[in-house]
């Protein structure tokens, strides 16, 4: 390979995570940069504004102690790439794909740019294969399908990672197709990583997984690269090797904060709450890398974890995420306080691809009606509960009282299943049993034929 690298002695200035380089006649957008200085650890960076007169480089590591004038800056002539391949399975890397498991760096099967090119929409497959997560509130009410991006909206202290761990532990491929998990930690604590891995190890699938860890103590700006490196590997495994890949990214909130840090350092005009105006586009560049491709075997399914600051779903991070992903699984502090696990609030939760993953031949024929009915009574029960706090239960109509009772049981038994796996068959059966505590007149979302079929089946 020809070496296109050029070395510059001394940067003009530095500020925050950025350094500014002068007179750069050949610099390329996105070019990979290495920076050294006397008595300083080597640093890495990336060109984010390429100019003949001034070039801006974002540095992945902390810039504390970096003397710009004495630094030696190498423009490598390459854009950021990652080594990918099946050989990475079972290994652990940092946020830029360097091994941190004391094993030698993998040779891999290919080296690919981490800024994955957009999948041509006409070449996208239509996701529609049910993933059984073993979690009733998901499988029954917010069904996940292969190729979907379905985030968990968690809150500080809520068990978002545990839920992700539970999903991953259970979500094996039904017909034994090749299956892999990629976990990308962004800015989370070692303890949180452990929480997730602990769950996950139980499934005995460590050798089917690749870990990319950028934890709280690791360089901040590296967080912008970590999910891209992870997704590059995911795409390779999925679309080159025909593997069904589940990607868990935790925590997107830390990613967005790194994005804001760069925007602030560049003195860009801030958008809502100081996050850059292009955050939607930037996040879409990650989330849209989930999917399936026509004529290819594998799939990339994403479960990003988003911690809602102050439990606020309208905060730009969950808000923009929700605008891009195909639904969301929302955790509720109230359920969590009542020790219901997983504390999933099914009302604001949604899987937009649910309809293509359920029904005859996939789950059960009556799935849609059954779920609609559960939603309807549960909604009524929640409203009744609210009303009861003011007028007392006795002030409620009879149907409302029944719905209220239903809501309690639904939360405790159906949603609050604990850490156990429940098959889709058991989930549907439990749902029916709860519904059948109500008179037929309360169940208008269930059509007569479906009702009769259920009667016949249980007679």
């Amino acid at each position: 390979m020809t070496d296109f690298s050029r070395i510059y002695h001394g940067a003009r200035s530095a500020g925050g995570p950025l350094i500014f380089l002068e007179k750069t006649p050949q610099v390329a957008m996105g070019e990979w940069v290495t920076i050294t200085a006397p008595d300083q650890p080597p640093r890495r960076g990336q060109v984010i504004d390429a100019g003949r007169e001034i070039t801006v480089i974002q540095i992945l590591e902390e810039t504390l102690g970096l003397p710009p004038a004495a630094a030696e800056i190498t423009l490598t002539g390459q854009t950021a790439t990652a080594v990918v391949g099946r050989e990475l399975l079972g290994r652990t890397f940092n946020g830029v794909g360097q091994p941190i498991d004391d094993l030698p760096a993998p040779v891999g099967e290919a080296r690919v740019p981490i800024w994955g090119a957009p999948l041509n929409p006409v070449r996208r497959g239509r996701p529609g294969e049910f993933i059984e997560t073993g979690v009733s509130a998901i499988d029954g009410m917010n069904t996940l399908v292969r190729g979907q991006k379905l985030p968990v909206f968690s809150g500080p202290g809520l068990p978002g990672l545990e839920l992700a761990g539970q999903i991953v532990e259970n979500a094996r491929a039904p017909r034994g197709e090749p299956f892999a998990v990629i976990f990308c930690a962004i800015g989370i604590t070692a303890h949180e990583t452990y929480t997730f891995l602990n769950r996950f190890e139980r499934s005995g699938a460590m050798e089917r997984s690749v870990l990319y860890l950028n934890e709280a103590r690791d360089p901040t700006i590296e967080r912008l690269l970590a999910p891209r490196v992870a997704l590059s590997e995911a795409e390779y495994l999925a679309f080159k090797c025909g593997i069904h890949v589940l990607v868990v990214v935790a925590d997107m909130t830390h990613y967005c904060e790194a994005l804001r840090e760069i925007a602030t350092a560049r003195e860009e005009i801030p958008g809502r709450r100081g996050y850059p105006g292009y955050m939607y586009t930037d996040l879409a560049g990650l989330y849209e890398r989930a999917g399936t491709v026509l004529g290819r075997e594998g799939s990339v399914t994403q479960i990003p974890i988003v911690t809602m600051p102050d439990d606020d779903i309208t905060h730009p991070i969950p808000d923009l995420t929700g605008y891009i992903t195909e639904g969301q699984l929302v955790l509720s502090r109230e359920l969590h306080r009542r020790s219901i696990f997983p504390p999933l609030d099914v009302l604001p939760s949604l899987s937009r691809l649910m309809n293509s993953g359920i029904g005859r031949g996939k789950t059960v024929p009556e799935h849609r009606e059954w779920a609609n009915q559960l939603y309807a009574v549960y909604t009524q029960g929640r409203e009744a509960r609210l009303m009861a706090t003011i007028v007392g239960e006795a002030g409620l109509g009879e149907a409302d009282q029944r719905a209220l009772g239903f809501a309690e049981r639904f939360e405790r038994e159906f949603v609050g299943q604990g850490s156990w796996r429940r098959s889709i068959g058991d989930t549907v059966e439990l749902g029916w049993q709860l519904l059948e505590t109500l008179p037929r007149d309360d169940l208008l979302r269930v059509s007569d034929p479906t009702w009769e079929a259920r009667r016949a089946a249980t007679a």
Partner: protein, 617 residues
């Protein structure tokens, strides 16, 4: 063509290059060694700023920039219907054929198939003086669909030669005396609105097939509506439902900065869905413009103009065109992103100060017009645009700017969406400025009491909100029977009139007759029950269940069984009326009503048990 310059800076989607002399604003340029497509959006001395429609990663300072001498144009002609274009008019199928499954920068492919031949029939003879927009002939695009071939809007002259035959889009089919050649296709700059002879006032209603819109918030053909709503409130489902079922000759669907999987959905479904008006697949009446959120941001900005230009072309041919834009917020954000990289002075929430102006111009391109040229043709563009307000808050600039220029608002409410009440249209906030002309049309074509019924039901829903607030304070049990009846009637109306599942094959599209019938039966049920109360029957003794069940079944029934269910509902209503009449006769005067109502309340529990016993063996 002017001489090439060199890249001096790359920042995001923008490239600066110099020296570039004699280039024009909005001229296209080929950028870098890869020849990426870009558009000049600022000129200062010899420095041009170019927005690049493709991924700029890897572009290098010093690489060449070659102006093309032409603005961003789209080729308009036979073969356009059914195509799937990216934001700069490249058919995505061809892009895939060139580059594979993942989009690579620097690909050039023609919008229309250059090889395909079309049978052309002249409609004018040599010697005729042709004006812009005149129809010179027709192409049989497919069996039963004749596509007029026009003199382009910027050409006129005396026809010298014209011949029938099979031609490609680039072949000359006619020649003017001054030597100007006419082809089956012509090119038009996307940022320039196509001229029309004159604008017409709003026309007939634009029938959407969605009850909540057709009945409560109808718009006209040529009207425009803004559909704002937080994430997951159902904007895309509405846009897609309308693209499938609305009464339009042509649908231009602009997926602007939204999801790839949604496009896969459309591509998967549309070819299999039949358009009942033509008997052909609905893909046959559709042009998709697709620039998903992960595709370059500058092309997202262009995609909306591209969609509008394609729509204007079909309007000029004399069609009724519906444009679905999902979502204009992504377009506005693209403006903002480019504006901020240009270091423009930001306005509200960082959007450029010209946001309202640009949006207004865009909406102005919709409407009902007499097209240029002879024979006289009327063409229509109806614009339905989704808006994605951050945090679902409608006070933000894009929603507000849209409201200033559009004729109707279909406001979506996350609370309704969370309750799975779909379409999640907030009937209090939503409005239409076209109510008068549209309801007059429905009164004439469907039923004379349509306008009254609409007003009555809206009022009833309004009254429900107030009552629910009271009920929230005192408990529903403390309400009077009349009020409880109103709550239950409003509930039914929300369920069977407003509520409509896009996934129910029998109810995804509701013909206006069905819409009216459901609304009117639901109201009759309320009236009949009210008469029962007046006659002294307690609410819990009124047997409304059979009628309610029949109405639900009517809503869900396949077309063949619908009539039977509507009749069942009518019969059940008649029985309810009889019940009321009998009670009225027995008690003699409606004055006794209140006492008995109280009694009715007391016996409610028993009554309930009785009925439970009936249904569960």
């Amino acid at each position: 063509m002017s001489e090439a310059g060199c890249i001096t800076r790359v920042t995001g989607a923008l490239v600066e290059a110099r020296p570039l002399r004699d280039v024009a604003l909005y001229e296209l340029a080929r950028v870098g060694d890869g020849g990426l497509l870009g558009e000049v959006i600022r000129l200062e001395g010899e420095t041009a700023t170019i927005q690049v429609y493709e991924d700029t990663n890897g572009l290098k300072v010093g690489e060449p920039v070659q102006p093309t001498g032409e603005p961003l144009v789209v080729q308009l002609g036979p073969g356009l219907l059914g195509s799937i274009l990216d934001g700069v008019a490249r058919p995505l199928e061809l892009v895939a054929a060139e580059a594979g499954d993942f989009i690579q920068p620097g690909i050039t492919v023609p919008t229309l198939d250059p090889e395909r031949r079309w049978p052309f029939q002249p409609r004018v003879s040599p010697g005729r003086r042709l004006l812009p927009g005149d129809v010179v002939g027709v192409v049989e695009e497919r069996a039963g669909r004749q596509l007029p071939i026009l003199v382009p809007p910027d050409i006129a002259g005396v026809l010298a030669e014209i011949s029938p035959g099979d031609f490609t889009v680039a072949d000359t089919v006619a020649c003017l005396e001054d030597g100007t050649a006419l082809n089956l296709a012509h090119r038009w700059p996307v940022r320039r609105a196509r001229p029309a002879a004159r604008r017409l006032p709003a026309g007939r209603p634009f029938i959407t097939g969605q009850r909540v819109f057709d009945f409560f918030f109808p718009i006209t053909e040529g009207g425009s509506v803004s559909v704002p709503g937080g994430f997951g409130t159902g904007k895309t489902v509405i846009e897609q439902s309308l693209a499938r079922h609305a009464a339009a000759d042509v649908v231009v669907y602009v997926g602007c900065g939204e999801r790839g999987n949604e496009m896969a959905d459309v591509l998967n479904e549309f070819p299999q869905l039949m358009d009942p008006r033509t008997g052909h697949s609905i893909m046959d009446r559709t042009v998709l413009v697709v620039n998903t959120s992960n595709m370059p941001v500058a092309a997202r900005e262009a995609s909306v103009y591209l969609g509008m230009t394609v729509a204007e072309y079909f309007r000029d041919l004399g069609f009724s065109v519906a444009v679905m834009a999902d979502s204009l917020s992504r377009w506005a954000e693209a403006l903002r992103e480019i504006g901020s990289r240009l270091q423009e002075m930001p306005g509200e929430e960082g959007y450029p100060t010209y946001l309202g102006n640009r949006l207004g111009k865009l909406y102005e391109r919709s409407g009902r017009v007499v097209a240029l040229g002879a024979p006289e043709r009327e063409g229509v563009i109806t614009l339905i645009s989704a808006v994605s307000p951050p945090g679902g808050d409608f006070s933000e600039p894009v929603t507000q700017a849209s409201l200033r220029v559009c004729g109707a608002l279909w406001a979506l409410d996350p609370a309704l969406a969370h309750q799975r009440q779909f379409p999640a249209v907030d009937w209090e906030t939503s409005y239409t400025l076209y109510a008068e002309e549209t309801t007059a049309w429905f009164a004439e074509r469907v039923s004379a009491d349509w306008p009254d019924l609409r007003a009555t039901l809206l009022e009833l829903l309004q009254r429900e909100r107030e009552l629910r607030e009271i009920a929230g304070l005192v408990g529903p049990e403390a309400l009077q029977d009349k009020d409880r009846l109103l709550l239950s009637a409003a509930h039914l109306i929300r369920e069977v009139v407003l509520g409509q599942s896009a996934y129910d094959p029998n109810d995804a599209a509701s013909p206006v007759e069905k819409t009216y019938r459901l609304a009117s039966l639901a109201y009759e049920l309320y009236q009949a029950a009210l008469a029962g109360l007046d006659a002294g029957i307690g609410l819990d003794q009124l047997d409304m269940e059979p009628a309610r069940r029949a109405l639900t079944n009517y809503r869900n029934a396949p077309a063949g069984e619908a009539q039977a269910w509507a009749d069942t509902a009518s019969t059940a209503l008649a029985r309810l009326r009889e019940q009321a009449a009998a009670a009225g006769d027995a008690s003699g005067s409606p004055a006794a009503a209140t006492d008995e109502a109280a009694e009715g309340c007391a016996s409610a529990a028993e009554d309930q048990e009785d009925r439970q016993a009936q249904v569960s063996p």
